[in-house]
């Protein structure tokens, strides 16, 4: 029986998942990216400095990651030496953006898969926020209008958390998280100019000054977000994990892991990073080599050749191509399927022993929830690794502010050469992000992006290997095949972004 799960809600963009279910088990899954804009087409021939602006519009959820990857790529192409303040401000802008994204992903995008909204009807307390929500839901349900209490209802059938106290607490934090994500973004905007789509990020640094009042303002906002992460987000995540322990065994992807590393701690993008880069296969990590990445298109809606390396990338849309089922290409590393994202970032760092804090947090939380670190390859593991990333990044950002030199330059002087090329790689909140720029006659000759959900949401490659999310769905047992809340939870754990994946 074939069942489409699309349009999938509470993700970025246009995703369908075509499942085949037999005897209550998903025996096949196809991830179908259903939106295409053609960034690589319209970037060609533009001024190179347009790139960190245009590519932010690939994704309004994680625009700063694109601005940073594009800036790194251009810095490499221009041979820029970035002043220490410039590199730190890049980190402060990008890091705060990660924090907002983790809160949004857990509360707004994922929590309603687990938390029972209707529990609020039983609320007896006097918290004004909760009383307001309760009265609103009551009035909505009594109103007789179609679709009351939207967007929180209707919802898919399935088991939700039974404990009223946990549900009500999580709902309060859902509303609070909406306020806290704004604070993280305000912090980003102090140096980025605004959010979404920062205008102050450039190759070579940031146009905003490193002023003591701005730094103090940033610290105060991040401190508030950090407090929320520790006092609300992590306890709520643990409560969800304890209510749904089976999700440590559901949704494992069946390939390797890839991370490009996050936030250089020295002057160049290649300096030692807060989270180390690496490709992880069978417990062994090897250094990342961009030349080992190829993109297949047999099942993608392009007539351009399959299996090209990033620097040779081509894009010829072919919307009615026979046999193709997605606008997403199928990138592979050494020809193999990999998962990218928070689990990959944490595992790649953990296996290399790069950041002692990452190792300590993995051990701590694995101990609390009673799992082996290998179980990180699961629905709950991805959520846990987002929380671990949030803790590590929040502490790092506060330390990083102390390393700024107020009054010193924040920007290198930019001179765009007539020709050149460069790769720029970072970790978006959703995983490994790569930009490549080639300049000829002062214009962009080629621009390529390989984006986190391009990896995770990819269709089959030419050899028929499924993408990471497809592989994680296949084999899942589902109670209600028409709805499949189990599959939805798997998809949400990857936090897919289709605008990114196709671009």
């Amino acid at each position: 029986m074939k069942i489409d799960l699309g349009p999938v809600s509470r993700i970025e963009g246009h995703l369908n998942v075509r499942t085949t279910v037999e005897n209550g088990t998903v025996i096949d899954a196809q991830c179908m990216g259903e939106m295409f804009r053609g960034f690589e087409v319209f970037l060609k021939g533009r001024d190179p400095l347009d790139a960190q602006q245009i590519t932010q519009r690939i994704c309004g959820v994680c625009p700063y990651a694109h601005a940073i990857a594009s800036s790194y790529a251009q810095e490499n192409a221009y041979g820029l030496r970035v002043p220490p303040n410039g590199r730190i401000l890049h980190n402060l802008i990008q890091g705060a953006n990660h924090l907002y994204d983790y809160l949004l992903q857990f509360y707004q995008l994922s929590a309603l898969d687990f938390v029972d909204v209707t529990a609020i009807l039983k609320y007896q307390g006097a918290d004004p926020d909760l009383v307001k929500i309760r009265n609103w839901v009551k009035a909505e349900l009594a109103s007789g209008k179609p679709y009351p209490a939207a967007p929180f209802l209707p919802r898919l059938s399935g088991r939700y958390i039974a404990n009223a106290e946990i549900n009500i607490g999580a709902l309060k934090h859902y509303v609070e998280a909406m306020e806290l994500q704004k604070k993280a973004n305000s912090a980003s905007a102090i140096f980025g100019g605004k959010f979404p789509h920062a205008t102050a990020i450039f190759p070579g640094g940031c146009t905003q000054d490193a002023r003591i009042d701005l730094i103090t303002n940033y610290q105060a906002l991040i401190q508030e977000v950090r407090n929320f992460i520790h006092s609300k987000y992590i306890p709520d995540l643990i409560a969800v994990a304890q209510a749904f322990p089976e999700y440590w065994n559901i949704g494992a992807s069946k390939g390797g892991f890839l991370s490009f590393g996050l936030m250089p701690m020295g002057p160049t993008p290649e300096s030692k990073k807060l989270f180390a880069a690496g490709a992880l296969f069978n417990g062994q990590v090897t250094p990342v080599n961009f030349e080992l990445i190829t993109e297949d298109t047999k099942y993608s809606k392009y007539s351009s050749p399959s299996g090209l390396k990033v620097r040779d990338g081509q894009l010829t849309p072919n919307p009615r191509k026979a046999g193709a089922y997605s606008w997403i290409k199928a990138p592979r590393y050494m020809g193999k399927m990999v998962e990218v994202g928070p689990a990959a970032r944490v595992l790649v760092d953990y296996y290399q022993g790069n950041n002692p804090k990452v190792k300590a947090l993995v051990k701590k939380y694995a101990g609390i929830v009673g799992i082996a670190p290998a179980k990180i390859n699961s629905v709950l593991g991805r959520h846990l690794c987002r929380a671990i990333s949030a803790v590590v990044i929040a502490d790092f950002l506060l330390d990083e502010t102390e390393r700024l030199s107020p009054g010193e330059p924040t920007m290198a002087e930019i001179k765009v050469p007539s020709s050149g090329e460069g790769f720029g790689a970072t970790e978006a909140s959703r995983g490994a992000l790569l930009h490549y720029i080639r300049i000829e006659n002062h214009k962009i000759d080629r621009y390529e992006c390989v984006v986190p959900t391009t990896w995770n949401g990819s269709p089959r490659d030419d050899k028929g290997q499924p993408g990471a999310m497809e592989s994680a769905l296949i084999g899942t047992k589902v109670k209600t095949p028409e709805e499949q809340i189990e599959s939805l939870r798997i998809v949400h754990s990857f936090d897919p972004c289709i605008a990114c994946a196709v671009h």
Binding site: E34, I54, F191
Partner: protein, 306 residues
């Protein structure tokens, strides 16, 4: 003498004083249909978008985003927030769009691929089909962001999908329907929420020729810029990161209608020029449209002598 400018002013004043009879037919129809006693339901659809406008709507300050979607409007469907998913959400969308679930305002984020319908599909059909059907049932539409208004980034030169905005989409189909344009890449949350609140509480706000509320889009960024004095004194930044008027670095404030200089972004935290970043004209209908007009003019600025 009553010149054209004053005539228009007078006409606007008269139409306010004597009701809505002088306004264009679709606007009148829209105004009559909106019932201030009931909150409008919003069906929020995404075209070729990056979700940046939706994320921006969550950055609303006061009222808070949670209040805006429950007390000031009703977000019947939004793909990023709705608990529902898949078939269930398609049924919900279709119930409204077919006219069976009552009045609603359509909000569209993102552009429409008019020459490649397969480039934006929701469930079992292209976005374009929903928009055509909604034109028969919706009260009015709000085009959220430069993409939905004018095509935006997907319509940049080279535009492989034939991306266009909602007004153009309806115009090509001879559909006469009120579309309020809220430009910005992304939009400022106030621009959208205050327009919706305005629609609900007092009716349609006064619009510019481009179909945007004058509340936010009546003046150019340049006219309101705190560095306008620098411009007059010819104090120009020559390199990125410098103070002074950013015009010579390529600032598009003189060409862009928006109130960023007085409104600021992210709960009043900052805005582009205060971060020494030139305005790139993201609220302009021509945003990023031509390859030969880059966002920045660094080489020119550095070589020019004052």
């Amino acid at each position: 003498m009553l010149d054209r400018r004053n005539f228009l002013k007078l006409a606007a004043a008269l139409s306010t004083a004597f009701g809505i009879s002088n306004l264009p037919a679709p606007v009148q129809a829209a105004l009559k249909k909106i019932n201030p006693a009931t909150l409008p339901k919003i069906i929020y659809l995404q075209g070729m978008s990056c979700t940046g406008c939706s994320i921006s709507l969550l950055q609303a300050n006061a009222p808070s985003p949670a209040a805006l979607i429950t007390e000031y409007s009703q977000l019947a469907f939004h793909a990023d927030l709705s608990a529902t998913s898949g078939k269930q959400s398609l049924n919900l969308i279709n119930a409204f769009i077919s006219g069976k679930a009552g009045e609603y305002i359509l909000a569209l984020e993102g552009s429409i691929p008019d020459q490649m319908p397969e480039a934006c599909v929701i469930g079992d059909k292209p976005l374009a089909k929903y928009l055509e059907e909604a034109a028969r049932t919706m009260t009015a539409a709000v085009a959220v962001g430069t993409c939905a208004c004018d095509g935006g980034i997907p319509a940049a030169e080279g535009n492989p999908t034939g991306a266009i905005g909602l007004r153009e989409f309806y115009k090509r189909r001879n559909i006469d329907k009120l579309v309020v344009n809220i430009r910005g890449c992304s939009v400022h949350p106030d621009w959208v929420w205050h327009t919706i609140v305005h629609l609900v509480k007092v009716g349609l706000p006064e619009l510019t020729d481009g179909g945007s509320p004058k509340l936010f889009y009546a003046k150019k960024v340049h006219e309101q810029c705190p560095r306008y004095h620098d411009f007059q004194q010819e104090i120009f930044a020559r390199n990125l990161g410098e103070k002074g008027c950013l015009f010579k670095l390529g600032c598009l404030g003189p060409d862009t209608y928006a109130d960023c200089p007085t409104r600021w972004w992210n709960s009043g935290q900052n805005w582009c020029v205060d971060a020494n970043a030139p305005c790139i004209g993201c609220a302009s209908p021509n945003f990023a449209r031509q390859k030969r007009i880059p966002f920045y003019r660094l080489a020119e600025a550095a070589t020019q002598k004052i």
